[in-house]
Every structure is written in structure tokens, then in C-alpha cells.
């Protein structure tokens, strides 16, 4: 009976997609719907929720700390895009090149940081960028006669530490995406180009870059999302959600502060909805511009 059911050509596809549909409904649609309704309520756990209309949103619009968090997340996202797309692409091309020696070694050493827990990595970076003379970065600066710096107390220096952490962690992952993209480019194209007398640079810009476009767009999309949703890196680097002058506060950090630390879940839900809106707008615009919605020829 079960066998006949599973072997039925009509039923089988539904059975196979069912887990995804269920996960999507339970862990995505339901929470999204309930956060949307929560964002119009004053919710304190353990007490009855009250409907407050647009109050949470109007309060959000006058909240300087929230805008600080949005600005922080946006800057972080842009910096990661600028660093974490071109460099991994370049490394992937280098590693993929036939002239490269110890290829597997480089591949795994670039990827290794991604396997490290963010908690551990963040703690190590916090110690490295500590403000005491003996901290690693400050003692290196000391060799050049530079005074110790309070890295994690300044907006720019704090971001240097944060972006260094992101770069260390994610370069290898993005590089692997690009490597798999490179594997799909047939060697014939390069051979033909060589016969036509194309230079290395020309081959890179005329063959590699255009054919890597789908991969690049994928990496761009997930990087935009990951950049805006970053939280743990900042939390670990500043040893908590409260960085000096909120220089490391991200949108998700603010959501956590309001929802969990201050027990103000309705307001936190509004922050979450705004984050979703921002991410969707940026990503949909980006995808539309890069022509991903066009029908393939």
C-alpha cells in the first residue's frame, strides 16, 4: 500500500517537496505573520498584549539609536561587499590557475576560518584589538613607534577590527563559490582566446568575469543579507550588545536589545519588519538591475 503510494507518479513529487513546504510554513510564514501582528502591539512576555496601532513604528522613526544601528549595518554591508567579492574572486582565479602550486593547501587554509566558531573568533579578535599596550595589534604598532590605540572605542578603528574579522572569516567561503563557478567555464574558451592572442587580463575581463556573473550575483545577494543581519560578530567583538557610543550596534543587535534585554517584544518586532523591508528592497532592486528577473533567451 505504502509502496504503491510512494511509487505513484502523481503523489511522489508532493511527498518530496512536503518537508520543504512544512519547514517554510512553520519556520518562515508563521513567524513572519506573527511578528507582523506583534509589531502593532505592546507585548510584554507574561502579560496580555495590547493593540497600539502604528505606535511602535512612529516611535521607531524618532529613535536615533535605531538609525545609528541601521547606518552601522549598512556601512558594514557595503564594506563587506567591497572586500568580500573582488578579493575572493581574485583568489579563486589564482588558485584555479594551472601555475598554482600547493593548491589544496591554500584552498583549505582559506576555508579553515569559516569552520571556527564566531564566538571563539570574535573573542580572539577582541583580545587582539585590545586597548592595552600588550595587546597584539598595539604591540605590533609599538614596533613602528606608534602609540597604543583604543581600537574598539572609535567608530573607524572599531570597524577596522569588525571588517578584519569578517574578511578573515568569510573570504574562504566566497572563494569556494567562485571556484565552483570557475569549474563551469570550459577550457576551450581560454584556448580559443589564446590562439586569438588574448592577454591574461583580457581573458579575465572578457571570459572569466562575464561567465562568473551568476555566481557573483548569488554571492552579492547573500552578502547583502548577511551584512544587514550581522549580529554575533559585533556582540563577541565588544563583549556584549552594548558597544561604546553604540559603534558596533547592528539592526539585529537593536532588535535583541529591545526584545530580549528590555522585554519590549512589540517594538522589537517592528525593528525586525523594517529590517526585512530594507533587505527585500535592496536585494530585489539589485536583482532587477542585474537582469535576474528577465527570461533567459
Amino acid at each position: 500500500m505504502i509502496k504503491r503510494f510512494l511509487y505513484s507518479q502523481k503523489v511522489a513529487p508532493y511527498v518530496f517537496v512536503l518537508p520543504f513546504i512544512l519547514v517554510f510554513l512553520i519556520f518562515w510564514v508563521y513567524p513572519l505573520g506573527s511578528s507582523l501582528s506583534m509589531s502593532f502591539q505592546k507585548v510584554t512576555l507574561g502579560q496580555d498584549a495590547q493593540w497600539v496601532g502604528l505606535d511602535n513604528y512612529t516611535k521607531l522613526m524618532g529613535d536615533k539609536t535605531f538609525f545609528k544601528a541601521v547606518a552601522n549595518s549598512a556601512v558594514y554591508m557595503l564594506l563587506t561587499l567591497v572586500i568580500l567579492i573582488p578579493f575572493p574572486m581574485l583568489f579563486a582565479v589564482l588558485i584555479n590557475s594551472k601555475l598554482m602550486w600547493a593548491r589544496e593547501f591554500f584552498k583549505s587554509s582559506f576555508f579553515f576560518p569559516a569552520l571556527t566558531s564566531v564566538v571563539v573568533a570574535g573573542t580572539i579578535f577582541r583580545l587582539m584589538f585590545g586597548e592595552m599596550e600588550g595587546s597584539m595589534i598595539n604591540s605590533i604598532l609599538g614596533l613602528f613607534g606608534i602609540e597604543p590605540m583604543k581600537f574598539l572605542k572609535g567608530q573607524v578603528t572599531g570597524y577596522i577590527a569588525l571588517v578584519a574579522l569578517a574578511t578573515w572569516r568569510w573570504t574562504g567561503v566566497n572563494m569556494l563559490y567562485f571556484l565552483s563557478g570557475l569549474k563551469n567555464i570550459p577550457d576551450d574558451y581560454y584556448e580559443a582566446a589564446s590562439i586569438d592572442g588574448a592577454s591574461r587580463f583580457q581573458k579575465f575581463t572578457k571570459i572569466t568575469m562575464p561567465l562568473l556573473k551568476p555566481t557573483s550575483i548569488y554571492v552579492l545577494t547573500i552578502s547583502i543579507y548577511a551584512g544587514l543581519a550581522m549580529f554575533i560578530e559585533s556582540m563577541m567583538l565588544w563583549n556584549g550588545n552594548n558597544s561604546p557610543k553604540n559603534i558596533g550596534l547592528t539592526i539585529v543587535g537593536y532588535l535583541y536589545r529591545q526584545g530580549i534585554e528590555k522585554n519590549n517584544l512589540g517594538y522589537a518586532a517592528a525593528v525586525g519588519i523594517v529590517l526585512l523591508a530594507i533587505t527585500m528592497i535592496i536585494n530585489l532592486t539589485q536583482l532587477a538591475f542585474s537582469g535576474m528577473f528577465k527570461k533567459e533567451d
Binding site: 529613535d63 585590545g130 592595552m132 552594548n242 561604546p244 557610543k245 534585554e261 522585554n263
Partner: protein, 444 residues
């Protein structure tokens, strides 16, 4: 057939691998747990206790032994979990409010306490178990953790704030800490210390409000008005911060790694003798004995300098309330045990012996054999006896209120305002006005 076996084996291996991962991560996110048996028999009730201060567990262990001996038919095993400060409070808040997963007993720090008092508190009222001890402990410490006249948490200490001076540095600079009475005296001494040794006299705290609290207490002011509304841009606050800023501008005090004396980075700085003074509540003593062993025999305790002679020289800073949650296994047993472990005379003596805190049963303050016991590790560590100072300032210990606005006030001052003033040199009045506006906006 072979294939089938292979598949089964593969599935089994993968499940066990996943199982392993799951188990590992859950244990590490739960913090460190240890079970205190304290001579409990088989029939003992097992209660769970969450705290963010490892030392508190040691005190409970001592009191548990006494309890189990005195109450053979109502013995307790205590399951102690120590978690980091933020983690523990966040987890406790969710667990208590949702009614799932909360421990039977927990510690809540004063800064977070008002959050747990919102609406109808999900904690057990403790009035009945407090009653027998009511006349022996400081009333203001009971009021601190009460809502509408009902006590929900039991205090650990008064937290009288004092000055901790590193006598070795002061000696090198030719300064006698006993002559420091006002902030002007402190400034003169500090300038001399910086000139002679290149070291700072004290810290300019950016991540805690101990110093602002002491400045406000001296002027009879608070972070909030009578009704509990935030008032951080008051004249008194400007005056207090101006004094501190002036000290910083003259190299008397400087910001410290970690932002305040009670942090790991700061322990290191103090240990290396880079700062001569910390103005902290008395419980900082336990940090000295535990984390700054190098300074043993060098630290003297004295009253905090005042703006003008005659002003109160101390205030009760910080504090931890022990509470019983509504979901506790045996509410009455848990309540009676914590009252015994924190309010009884025995408990108050042990709080001093084990934790080095100033007990809320002030009778202990006069028990010379307890407070001056030469075997006590705190008596051994410090240059002078803490209780000589405490008894001297006994009538001057003011209270800074804890109101529903306090967590927000604390958050804004410690993340933004104090950094702006001490790190960036922003105008004090402007920084405080901005803070007031931000606090009001957040509390809307």
C-alpha cells in the same frame, strides 16, 4: 541485502554524529553546572539555582550544609549554574515570563531588577519568610527589592562605597591618603602622583555609573526625581561630572581598559600598578582577593572624598537579589531556605566571611570577633580593617533609587554619554541633555 545494511549503518552513524553535536552545544550554552550535596540524604529535594557570580555559589554551599544539618526532614540539594551576566538575565527573563525552564532560585542584579518587576511580577512574594528577620536587617535593602510594599528579592549586602588606595604608589609619590577629604585634596594628591610616578591616581569610568552615583549621593540627588522620572541633566549631575572631567584633564584620573574597575581588563591594570585608586562599593574587596593577588598588603580602604566637608561620604552601590520563581518545585522550601541563607544572623556572618560583603544585618558590623578575625582572608589582605571605615561612615550611606527607568538610564549613560564626555571631550551639559532626550524617547 548488503546495500540495505550499508544504508542502515550510514543512517545510524549520521544520527549518532548529529546527536553528539546537539548534546555538546547544549551543554556549553547552559553555563557551568555543579551539584551541591552538602550532606543531603537520598530524600533531599533538588533545587536549581542560577547565578552570574561564581562566589555566590560558595556562600550557598556553606549555608546549605547548615540548613541540611538543622532540617534533616527537609534537606536540599542545590544545582548551581553559573552563567555570564547578560546571558543569565536574558535567559531568566524569558524563562520566568514564559513559565518554562526557569530555575527554582535565581540571582538578579539590581540594574536588571526593575525589568523583572514590570506588570505582575512572575516571582514569589517573600514577606512571610522575611518577617522573622525584619527587625534585624536594614529596611532600605528590603525596600530596594519590593514592589507596592511586597518583597520579591533578598539583598546580599549594603554595598557601601569606599575608596581603595594603593599605598605603595602613594608612598612613592609622598602622598598620605588619610589626609584626602575633599575632591580638591584628591586632585592635589593626584597631580603629585602623576608628576612623581607617571601613574594615574584613579579611573574615569565609562561603562558604569558608580562615580556618578557617588557624586549625586553627596549632593542629595539621584538619577530620577521623586516620582521616578529620569533626570540625568540635573545641575548636580553636571557638577559631579565637571569635577571628574577636571580631574581627567589634569591627568589625575584616566579612562581604563574595560571601562570601570570591576572588569577583567581593569583587574590587570590595577595589578600592574597603573592606577592608584578605585571608588567602588565594598564588594570590590572580593575582586581584590580573587583577581588582584599581587596587591595583597598594599590596598587601604578609606571614605570617598566629598565636594565639601560634611557631605555624606558613601552610598549603597549595586546589589543582587535572590528570588524564588513562580514555577519553583517547592516554593515554600525554596523561600525558607533563601531567607535562612541570606537574612539570618549566621548567614550575614558567612556573607562577610566568604564573600567579603558588608552584611545587611548591621549588628554584624559591631561584632569585633567576626569583623576583626585575623584569619579572615579580607582582614589579611587589606592594610586597614574595612569595618573601621564602615562604622565611621555608617550613618552617611545614602541610597540611589532603582526605578523602572533605571535600566534605560544606565544603558544610555554607560554606552553613549560617559564615553562622549571622557573619551571625546564632548560638552558635559550637551551630552547630558542628549542623554535625557534619548532616555525619554526610549521610555515612551
Amino acid at each position: 541485502m548488503k546495500k540495505k545494511w550499508l544504508v542502515t549503518l550510514l543512517v545510524l552513524t549520521m544520527t549518532s554524529l548529529l546527536w553528539g553535536c546537539g548534546a555538546k552545544s547544549s551543554s556549553s550554552s547552559k553555563g557551568e553546572t555543579s551539584v551541591l550535596n552538602a550532606g543531603a540524604g537520598e530524600s533531599a529535594t533538588e533545587l536549581s539555582y542560577w547565578t552570574f557570580v561564581e562566589l555566590h555559589g560558595q556562600h550557598f554551599e556553606k549555608m546549605l550544609e547548615k540548613w541540611n544539618k538543622a532540617n534533616p526532614d527537609r534537606q536540599i540539594k542545590l544545582n548551581v549554574t553559573v552563567m555570564p551576566y547578560d546571558d543569565m538575565h536574558n535567559k531568566l527573563s524569558i524563562a520566568v515570563q514564559t513559565g518554562v525552564g526557569a530555575p527554582d532560585i535565581a540571582d538578579i542584579e539590581l540594574g536588571k531588577y526593575p525589568d523583572f518587576m514590570k506588570g505582575t511580577p512572575q516571582l514569589e512574594p517573600l514577606d512571610d519568610v522575611v518577617k522573622p528577620y525584619k527587625d534585624t536587617v536594614v529596611q532600605s535593602q528590603l525596600d530596594l527589592y519590593s514592589k507596592d510594599g511586597t518583597v520579591y528579592g533578598l539583598s546580599t549586602h549594603v554595598g557601601a562605597s569606599v575608596a581603595f588606595y594603593n599605598t605603595e604608589i602613594l608612598k612613592e609619590a609622598g602622598v598620605d591618603y588619610k589626609t584626602i577629604v575633599t575632591w580638591d585634596d584628591f586632585k592635589k594628591a593626584g597631580m603629585q602622583v602623576y608628576e612623581k610616578t607617571g601613574k594615574y591616581m584613579g579611573t574615569a569610568d565609562t561603562s558604569a555609573t558608580w562615580q556618578e552615583s557617588m557624586m549625586l549621593a553627596q549632593q542629595g540627588a539621584d538619577f530620577t526625581d521623586e516620582a521616578g522620572n529620569p533626570k540625568v541633566n540635573s545641575e548636580q549631575m553636571v557638577k559631579g561630572l565637571s569635577i571628574l572631567k577636571d580631574l581627567k584633564d589634569n591627568n589625575v584620573i584616566a579612562t581604563i581598559a574595560g571601562g570601570q574597575p570591576d572588569t577583567e581588563e581593569a583587574y590587570g591594570e590595577f595589578n600592574s600598578g597603573n592606577y592608584a585608586t578605585a571608588f567602588m562599593p565594598l564588594w570590590e574587596m572580593s575582586r581584590y582577593t580573587n583577581y588582584m593577588a599581587d596587591l595583597s598588603g598594599k590596598i587601604a580602604i578609606a571614605p570617598i572624598p566629598v565636594i565639601e566637608k560634611g557631605m555624606p561620604r558613601s552610598y549603597g552601590g549595586g546589589g543582587t537579589a535572590t528570588v524564588v520563581t513562580k514555577t519553583a518545585k517547592d516554593v515554600q522550601l525554596a523561600k525558607e531556605f533563601i531567607a535562612y541563607a541570606k537574612l539570618s544572623l549566621d548567614a550575614n556572618i558567612e556573607i562577610w566571611n566568604t564573600l567579603g560583603f558588608d552584611p545587611i544585618n548591621m549588628d554584624v558590623w559591631d561584632m569585633k570577633d567576626v569583623t576583626h578575625n585575623p584569619e579572615n582572608k579580607f582582614v589579611k589582605y587589606f592594610v586597614n580593617n574595612p569595618f573601621d571605615v564602615l562604622n565611621d561612615i555608617k550613618s552617611e550611606i545614602k541610597l540611589i533609587k532603582s526605578t523602572p527607568a533605571s535600566p534605560t538610564i544606565n544603558n544610555v549613560l554607560c554606552t553613549v554619554t560617559l564615553n562622549e564626555i571622557f573619551e571625546d571631550g564632548k560638552d558635559i551639559k550637551k551630552a547630558l541633555d542628549d542623554a535625557q532626550a534619548q532616555i525619554e524617547q526610549e521610555l515612551k
